[in-house]
Every structure is written in structure tokens, then in C-alpha cells.
Homo-oligomer: 364 residues x 2
């Protein structure tokens, strides 16, 4: 069967060192305008410190993908790194604000292999920290972003409204039936994923260039590149939700399968018109009580062609992202770095090899 195989062989999705330009100091400067207790919670969440602010060298830091995109987009648009930095800070703050709130919304107790912030510090402080980071992101842009800062804030706030809409629809889609006239169309799912996941990467790719006053055409292209990468990202996350390490490591409770999540591979399988798809739908409608049922569901989805189709969709959007970025100019270091980063992030190795080498953590 395809869902077993080796454990992950180490992270394949780390950002290349050259793109990790955002310093801890820059983030701390931004969050330092909040309260010391919130700053300490943020440092714990980021993997810098233990829960008491103590050094914590073994903790895994996040990938800093979004700041890296902000710097690469700025570079491609000829905007200096210094000009782009407040944008990189803002998207990283917003991303972590949403992670902290998402973990609570989803009941996820673990983040980056440690107890999630709300588990350690309580639900109230975690809600507050997410809200504070949101305000910090806007404040950082207006305080340090220069004369194009208002445009960058508008980019950010428009994205955040799409993100909220996407999350609300995601909750609504999970309640819809697997079959019949009220089921979820693939197009609806893609629109939700574009709002929920891709919008933030599109904003990240453009915000540094926006602060440098890049042309509307350049900004649109950067948004497109980021959004295509975001869709590829989401589809890889969807693959992980069915065939990824959460099952291999026994974390069934967080699996898309047990949560009734409507994801691309499951919708594709159920809608395939195959016997395997029909049997999968019956299984999903009944609910998946144990690991055997989940293994059966994953096998049925694979045989219905959904795994291959989802991998194709991820590769397709990766290619569109790289093509959009390349259209900005001649071959350059930024372009090479974007190709490397985007390929690593969605785990091309994983998509090409069998057994797969999945990224170590989820795509978000």
C-alpha cells in the first residue's frame, strides 16, 4: 500500500539560507511595542525560547517562508531589502497571528513539535496575542514602511478579509454532504483555498515590492506568483492530510479524514464516478472510527486516481507560480531563489519519489 513507507528523511522544505533575511531582532522590535508578557508568549511560539523565556535551542523555528517571499518579490522588482523589511515583518506577524488563532479554532494542541501557545499560556492570552500581533503588523507598516505604507496596509487588510472569508467557508464546507446536489464542487473548494491559503502568500510576494512603489503590473504578477504557490501549498497539505505523516505518526485525531474536511483529493475521489470513489463516499458518510478505516479510505482515494490528480494540480500551480515570477525579468538570483524556495516548499522530491518524502510538518 502507498500510505506506509519510510518515515520522513528530514526537512525538505526549509527555506534556502539566502532567503532567510528576516532577523529575530526585527520581529522583536515590532512586538516590543506590545506588553512584555505578550512578547514572551510570541518568542515561545516562534521557537526562540521556552515558556519562561529561557533559551530553547532544540526547538524548531518556523520556515519564514512568507518573509522570504516578501524579500524575493522586492528583489525581482528592484526594491531594496531595507525598504521591503517592514513588509516581511508584517506578513510574518500576521501569519503567526492566524496560526495561533487557528490552533485554537481547530483544537490543535501541538505546533512545531511543542505544545501550542494556548495550551501553555491559556486560551485567553492566546486570543489576545493573536489580536496584538495583528495590530503590530499594521502598526509596523505605518511606522516604518515609508510613503507607500498605506497601500501596503490596504493590501494586507484586503487579504485578511479574504482569509476570514476563506476560513468561514472552510468551516461551512465541512458541514456539507459528500454526495448529492448539496455537495461541494471542486471549483468551490479551489475558491475557498485561494481565499484561505493562497491570499496570504500572494500578499507576501507583493508587499515588499509595494513598499518600494513597484508598478501595478509588477504587483499583480507577484500576487499571482504567490497565489499559485499558495494553491500548490494547499494541495500538498491536502495530500498530507490523507497520506502524510499525521497517519504514520498516529496523530489520527488531526487528520482531515476524521474531521470530515472536504479536501481536493477526497472531493476528486468521491466525484470520480469510479466504484472506489463510491465506496470511499460510503465510508466517509459513516465516519472513520479507527486507523483501519482511515487506511481503507486512503487506499480507495488513491485507486480512484485522486492522489495522482492532486499531485498534478500541485505541480501545475507550482509551474504557474515559477512562470509568473520568471516573467518579471531576465534570469537572476531572485528568480533562482524563488524556484528553489517554491520547489522545496511544496516538496518536489515528495511528489516525484515513491515512497514519498513528505515535508516534516504541515504546509501551513
Amino acid at each position: 500500500m502507498t500510505t506506509s513507507g519510510s518515515p520522513p528523511h528530514g526537512p525538505v522544505n526549509a527555506a534556502p539560507p539566502s532567503t532567510r533575511l528576516l532577523t529575530q531582532a526585527a520581529l522583536r522590535e515590532a512586538v516590543g511595542h506590545l506588553d512584555a508578557s505578550l512578547e514572551r508568549m510570541f518568542g515561545y511560539h516562534m521557537g526562540w525560547w521556552g515558556e519562561r523565556g529561557d533559551p530553547c535551542p532544540e526547538a524548531a523555528e518556523g520556515k519564514a517562508l512568507r518573509p522570504a517571499l516578501a524579500f524575493l518579490g522586492a528583489d525581482a522588482a528592484g526594491v531594496p531589502t531595507d525598504t521591503a523589511e517592514p513588509g516581511a515583518v508584517a506578513v510574518e506577524l500576521i501569519h503567526n497571528s492566524t496560526l495561533i488563532h487557528d490552533d485554537m479554532m481547530d483544537g490543535d494542541t501541538v505546533r512545531r513539535n511543542r505544545p501550542a501557545v494556548w495550551q501553555v499560556f491559556g486560551a485567553g492570552p492566546a486570543i489576545l496575542l493573536g489580536d496584538g500581533l495583528h495590530a503590530c503588523a499594521v502598526d509596523t507598516l505605518l511606522r516604518r514602511g515609508g510613503r507607500h505604507a498605506p497601500d501596503a496596509v490596504r493590501l494586507l487588510s484586503g487579504m485578511l478579509m479574504r482569509l476570514a472569508r476563506g476560513q468561514a467557508r472552510d468551516l461551512a464546507l465541512a458541514r456539507r454532504p459528500w454526495r448529492g446536489p448539496k455537495t461541494v464542487a471542486i471549483a468551490e473548494y479551489r475558491a475557498m483555498a485561494a481565499d484561505k491559503t493562497a491570499s496570504l502568500l500572494g500578499c507576501a510576494a507583493a508587499i515588499g515590492a509595494q513598499l518600494g512603489g513597484a508598478s501595478p503590473t509588477t504587483l499583480r504578477t507577484l500576487v499571482q506568483a504567490g497565489e499559485h504557490l499558495g494553491l500548490a501549498f494547499q494541495f500538498v497539505d491536502d495530500l498530507l492530510g490523507v497520506w502524510g505523516p499525521p497517519r504514520a505518526t498516529g496523530k489520527e485525531s488531526s487528520s482531515d479524514l476524521t474531521r470530515g474536511q472536504k479536501t481536493l483529493p477526497l472531493l476528486t475521489a468521491v466525484g470520480s464516478g469510479t466504484d472506489d470513489g463510491t465506496r470511499l463516499a460510503e465510508l466517509l458518510e459513516r465516519g472513520l472510527p479507527d486507523r483501519d478505516a482511515m487506511t481503507s479510505a486512503a487506499e480507495l482515494a488513491d485507486r480512484a486516481g485522486a492522489r495522482a490528480a492532486t499531485e498534478r494540480a500541485a505541480r501545475h500551480h507550482l509551474a504557474l507560480a515559477q512562470r509568473a515570477f520568471a516573467s518579471l525579468g531576465p534570469p537572476s538570483e531572485a528568480r533562482d531563489a524563488f524556484d528553489e524556495l517554491s520547489t522545496a516548499v511544496i516538496g518536489r522530491t515528495a511528489l516525484a519519489a515513491d515512497p514519498p518524502r513528505w515535508p516534516e510538518d504541515g504546509a501551513r
Copy 2:
């Protein structure tokens, strides 16, 4: 004893009709850019509809104090109502965003005499709604606020950072001891209240004028007027937390007394150097197991002079608020309305009469 007496004789804190200029349509326009399910939750929270979007005429709407302040401040600065409106919308959205999150943080299950949003729709959707309203507020200013919108966003985001800091400190103060070198100084409490409560009213009073390009001096004065009103507001809330209807109506669980909240009257009583203050501290240190203990605590605080002192502090800041507003120009309708609104909000009747006629709900 002073804590019994008649039940409240009806709301004394409703905004005068002339200041309720913010229409449901304007708020719905702003929130309409989110998802339909979030809009429905918002309408429930605002008291417009039942939980399924059904008409709900008996529900109490909020006081719309902050939008009223935005319009009055604009009026005093000679800024047209239309120009101020996006600011009124933004502060009302932010206020409700914080209410929705606060109810979850505090475990409060009732809001405006109905089950709180998170009780009806779940914690996840409530977190999401709060986040969405925050983004909507910024978006509304940038989309509809005209050329001074970036300054208004900066006012808003700076205030939100103070608010987060104030809330974090409020949580921290509750954990500090009642006596000894680590206890809470009155000045610390006031600084926390200025951040947590007064900052939003200061922002509300200035934001409409800010959108009209009012002078820095005018804006500073409006911020001061709003912040003094906010402090008065908080101190009335503190009075209610010890002697108000929550005890009369048996809602002990939400009382400041049982939550160990450090509030102005309790800190004043404990720090008074009187025997009653010492006995109150002993009671508070042991915790208040039942209603009798709470009644004793309230009586001790009263005898230690804390009730009268807190009432004086509230009146003092009310007077400073009205004086600041009056300094903006000659007697005017806006000035009369500000006096009427601010007096009603902190319940002058309540402060003058005995037994007290408290506002029907909390000051927030």
C-alpha cells in the same frame, strides 16, 4: 447596608437619539465584504437578529457610544458627518471585535441579555468573527476614509496595541498579591485602565475629526476628552463590579470580587490603612466562597471609604472630559450632546442618589 436597594429603574445610559447617527446599513456595508455566515453572526451579536438571521425585535442593541463620540468629535472640529462616518464604523467594528474576544477570554456567557456569540456559534467561529471585524475596520477606513485615512488607521492601530497591552496587564495584575511589596499600586491600575478602556474612547472621539484633517491640537484635545471619559467609565464599571446589579441579580460568578480582579475601589480600600481595609484584604486573600462573604467584602470596602473615593474619581474624570471638549469652542449643539452623553454614560444619577440607580449593563 448599601449594596441592596431597588433594582435598576431602567437604562440611564442610552445615548441621546441625536447622537445615534450610525446606521445599521453602514455597518452592514462594511461587514458585507466578509462572508455571509460571519455577517449573520455579527447581526446576532449586535442584537439585530436571532441566531438564524430571524427578526428579533426584543433584543437590546448596544449603546453605540463610540460612534456617537466619533460624530460629536467631528462636529466640534467642524468636520462633516459624512466625512466622519467611516471612522464611526471602524471604532464600532473594533469595539465589537474586542467584546466578542473578551467574552471568550473572560468566560462570560451572556452579552446584552442574550447568550454570547461564542456560546451560540462556537468558539472557533467567534475567534474568526473578531479577527474579521478587525480587518473590516482597517479596510473600511482605507476604502472610504478619503485622503486622511492612513492617519486614521495609524490612530486605530496604535490604540489597538495599547488595548492589547492593557488587557495583558489586567491579566497580570489579577495574579499579583493584595498586600506587600508586590501589590498593585493605584498608579499602575490607572495606567492599565487608560490602556485597556480609555484608549478606545480617546480614539473614537478623535477619529472622525482625523478623517476631516483636523489640526494636531484639536485631535489631541479630543483624544484627552475621550480618554477622561473612558477612565470615568472604567471607574463606574469598577463600582458595578462590587456594588452593582451583578450581585443584586445573583451573577456572582462574573463579579470582580470572585475573580480576584484588582479594581480601583478594592485597591483603594485595601490601601486605606483602616481596620476595615485590613479585614477586606484578609477576606480577599482567602477568597470569597459565597454571597455572604461578598456582601461583607462590599461593606468593608464601603466603610473604608473606597466607594466614595471611586465615585469622586469618576466624577473628576467626567468633569475633565467635559472641560476638554468645551475648550474646543463656544457652546454648541455638539458640546451639549457631549455633556449629555458623557453624563448619561457614567450614570450621574447613580453617583448622586442613594440607593443607586446603576446603568443596566456593565460599562463596557
